[in-house]
Amino acid sequence: MPAVAETLDTVQAATEGGYKWGFSTDIEMEMAPKGLNEDIIRLISARKNEPQWLLDWRLAAYAVWLKMTEPEWAMLNHPPIDYQDLHYYAAPKKKPGPKSLDEVDPELLRTYEKLGIPLRERAILAGVEGADGAPADGDRPQVAMDAVFDSVSVATTFKSTLAKAGVIFCPISEAVQEHPELVRKYLGSVVPTNDNYFAALNSAVFTDGSFVYIPKGVRCPMELSTYFRINARNTGQFERTLIIAEEASYVSYLEGCTAPQRDENQLHAAVVELVAFDDAQIKYSTVQNWYPGDAEGKGGIYNFVTKRGHCRGARSKISWTQVETGSAITWKYPSCVLQGDDSVGEFYSVALTNNYQQADTGTKMIHIGKRTKSTIVSKGISAGHSNNTYRGLVRIDRRADGARNFTQCDSLLIGDQCGAHTVPYIESRNPTAKLEHEATTSKIAEDQLFYCRQRGLSQEDAVGLIVNGFCKDVLKELPMEFAVEAQKLLAISLEGSVG
């Protein structure tokens, strides 16, 4: 038996069910009945105590969704989704604020512990009174966190520190109450309700998500982070994130996601909207680690996400960085509309698929303003029986004089049962624009492996090292702590696939 196949077998045997976030938490939940209709939407809206305009907006989106059909152009295969077989609202039951951690539902605390959230932040997330004002531990970089558990945001940390800087960071349901004028002005202004099938669905039933507003000239004093978790069975998660960066402001936003290990597929359809005005910068980083399903392709999250940023102002910049290792199905194209002159869009992506995972992901860069620039760096890694597709659009409008795009898409295949695909669309209508696109496909070179093995690294570690090197251009764009986590995640996700 060749060494490669042997390793493959032993590793596979040892790592069945290697998804370490696959636990579920037994918490008292309040759930809406299964199914989707106007009454459910009214119920969600009423639970959130929403104003009439938002209910009307949801109902209009629902009416649009009913007329739409699920898109079929992506290189994805899945059984039809039964949209009536889902709970569209699930929330952990909230009791009046506990006085200390001892009073908090121990199951909830255990969840946070398993997720690796620091103790003091755990207290805040669990809603312990007075926990927010406490000073941060030592020199540890501060990260403000919002946790979304199934459909609702359970808590946000560091609120008061942020408030001093004038930054608003809160659940979007709270923003609807506290800052309705901002929400009403920007919600759906980047991703309209009729944008696509999943965006329409999200607009109708979204339950929570994060809202960020950075005022003019403010550099957000800390990284903002949202943690998404699907916990309950048969629920769909539909979060909605809205980030507005006023003139000359800066924010870095991190997003992480996990879900319990279950046999059935769960639906996640999020919408993220970013707006950047003159000289503003938004850096949006994602580590997506939804449950990918087991080694036979059973279970896992269906991840249909619409993410788009509008560079509305001159010299504004939006940068997307994503590390996608989870989900049974990923359908996701974080995009930039470069409207302002000299605005900049960036997309850095690592998408790793193993076993029977399928990913169809990429970006769109729409150049409208003069001298707009975009950079796309995409690294796709396919292992096992998975399929990994990069799909991207670069469009240069007639007015976009001096626009510039650089695209690099690399695919790495591990094993002979997987697929790697590249589908770029390059459209230029301006002779002064310059576009470059480059794509390569290869496997891990035998000499690289040999070099590492010869120096005493195990086959697994060698592959991990090489894959991390392959992804370096993207990983270096992540905030440091996230980058470390992402590297570990890549290694874990590749377990059982080494060849």
């Binding site: 152009w73 240069i396 007639r398 695919s411 295949l413 591990i414 094993g415 002979d416 049962q417 997987c418 697929g419 790697a420 695909h421 590249t422 589908v423 770029p424 669309y425 390059i426 459209e427 230029s428 209508r429 301006n430 002779p431 002064t432 624009a433 310059k434 576009l435 470059e436 696109h437 480059e438 794509a439 390569t440 496909t441 290869s442 496997k443 060849g499």
Partner: protein, 425 residues
């Protein structure tokens, strides 16, 4: 020319119906296999013509073509001016005028076989998958069946299509077979005047160790529609080596399906599209690697002026068995005017892991530094631009080893530039 009902879909439907009606009226008089023809007629009646919603047709709308009406071919004689446009090369001539074989203008093959007088259907085309191929199959009236015996060099064959310019539609169907070890250079020249529809289908069966060199010049009339489909199936160690110079027609679509079916088979699909005015040309390739150790090379260059639109869609498919595939594709475009547009979709679809596949695409204007370099050495602006454009094209033209064909193409490029390519409006 009459105008069909409004709306792109209605126009396409009406056009398909009118083609089917034409077939129904003439089917008893059409030569060749009536069964194959009837099958395609049913397909066309059911599926219609390619519409704007189809992914393979996202950049090319057939509406202008659907709105024109074409009469079946009538016998005509080409003008001396048209004949003079044929390349002056030593070759066995096979001349088709408005889609019909013209024996007086054609030569007699030596050492290989040519049959004409009815469509040479072959077995490689897929009318169920490609709607224009169904249209061709249904209405084809003539074509050349070229058969090169094993280990024979058939030399150079000039396959010329001359269109005299009446509002006619013709759908020639050619089938080229190379037995093991055979060789053939096919100069495939399509020229014409005026408004017409030329919808040829060519199929190539390349047996083990055989090599076909397919050098194409598309210089159809300014009002013409050129919609061609090529299928090439290459067995072990065989080569399908092609270059297409695309200059003419109002609306052109060249689709090439190359399948590398045996180990060590190779395909080269190079092209240069030179467009001006409001021309639209689409070069679409699908290369399928179905065996180990196969190689494909594509270099496609586009020079666009006026309000023209260039389209390139190139797909490389690598099947699970096709280990050690080497696939390369480069697509570059020069936009020389404010209103030109380039749309490019290079695609990789890979199911084998031990492969080396890459593609690149660039779009931009002439390099200002390079222009400055030449200008500073006393080269006039117009000439400097011509030099740079010619240099840009050389990567695609260089692999052409047939000297006569190459000279003819160089002359055609020079004429294009002189005639209006350098007018950048």
């Amino acid at each position: 020319m009459s105008i069909a009902p409004s709306g792109p879909l209605a126009a396409l439907k009406a056009a398909a119906d009118s083609f089917v009606a034409d077939y129904q009226a003439r089917k008893t008089t059409l030569p060749g296999d009536s069964h194959v023809r009837a099958e395609s007629a049913a397909l066309l009646a059911a599926n219609g013509l390619p519409g704007p919603r189809e992914e393979a047709w996202r950049y090319t709308a057939l509406r202008p073509f659907a709105e024109a009406q074409f009469k079946p071919t009538a016998k005509a004689e080409p003008s001396a001016a048209l004949l003079a446009r044929l390349p002056h090369v030593e070759a066995t001539r096979l001349v088709f005028v408005d889609g019909r074989f013209h024996s007086e203008l054609s030569g007699v093959p030596a050492g290989f076989r040519v049959t004409t007088g009815e469509p040479a259907y072959g077995t490689l085309a897929r009318p169920a998958a490609e709607k224009l191929v169904a249209l061709n199959t249904m209405l084809a009236e003539d074509g050349a069946a070229i058969h090169v015996p094993a280990n024979t060099d058939a030399g150079t064959v000039l396959l010329a299509s001359l269109a005299t310019g009446a509002a006619v539609g013709f759908h020639p169907r050619h089938h080229i077979v190379l037995e093991p070890g055979a060789q053939l250079t096919l100069l495939d020249v399509t020229i014409g005047d005026g408004e017409y529809l030329h919808n040829p289908v060519l199929t190539f069966e390349v047996a083990a160790g055989a090599t076909v060199t397919h050098l194409r010049t598309q210089d159809e009339g300014a009002g013409a529609f050129h919609l061609s489909t090529v299928y090439a199936e290459v067995a072990e160690g065989g080569t399908y080596d092609s270059f297409a110079l695309i200059l003419g027609a109002k609306l052109a679509r060249m689709e090439v399906h190359a399948r590398l079916a045996g180990p060590n088979a190779a395909a080269h699909l190079n092209a240069a599209q030179l467009l001006g005015a409001s021309q639209h040309a689409d070069f679409t390739t699908i290369v399928r690697h179905d065996a180990p150790n196969t190689a494909s090379r594509q270099t496609v260059k586009n020079v666009l002026t006026g309000r023209s639109r260039g389209v390139f869609q190139g797909k490389i498919e690598v099947a699970r068995v096709a280990q050690k595939t080497d696939g390369y594709q480069m697509n570059q475009a020069l936009l020389l005017s404010a209103n030109a547009e380039m749309d490019s979709k290079p695609q990789l679809e890979i199911y084998a892991d031990d492969v080396k596949c890459s593609h690149g695409a660039t779009v931009g204007a002439l390099d200002a530094d390079q222009l400055f370099y030449l200008r500073s050495r006393g080269v006039p602006e117009a000439e400097a631009r011509a030099i740079l454009v010619r240099a840009f094209l050389s990567e695609a033209l260089d692999p052409i080893s047939h000297e006569g064909a190459r000279a003819a193409m160089e002359a055609a490029i020079a004429a294009w530039w002189a005639k209006g390519g350098r007018v950048q409006t």
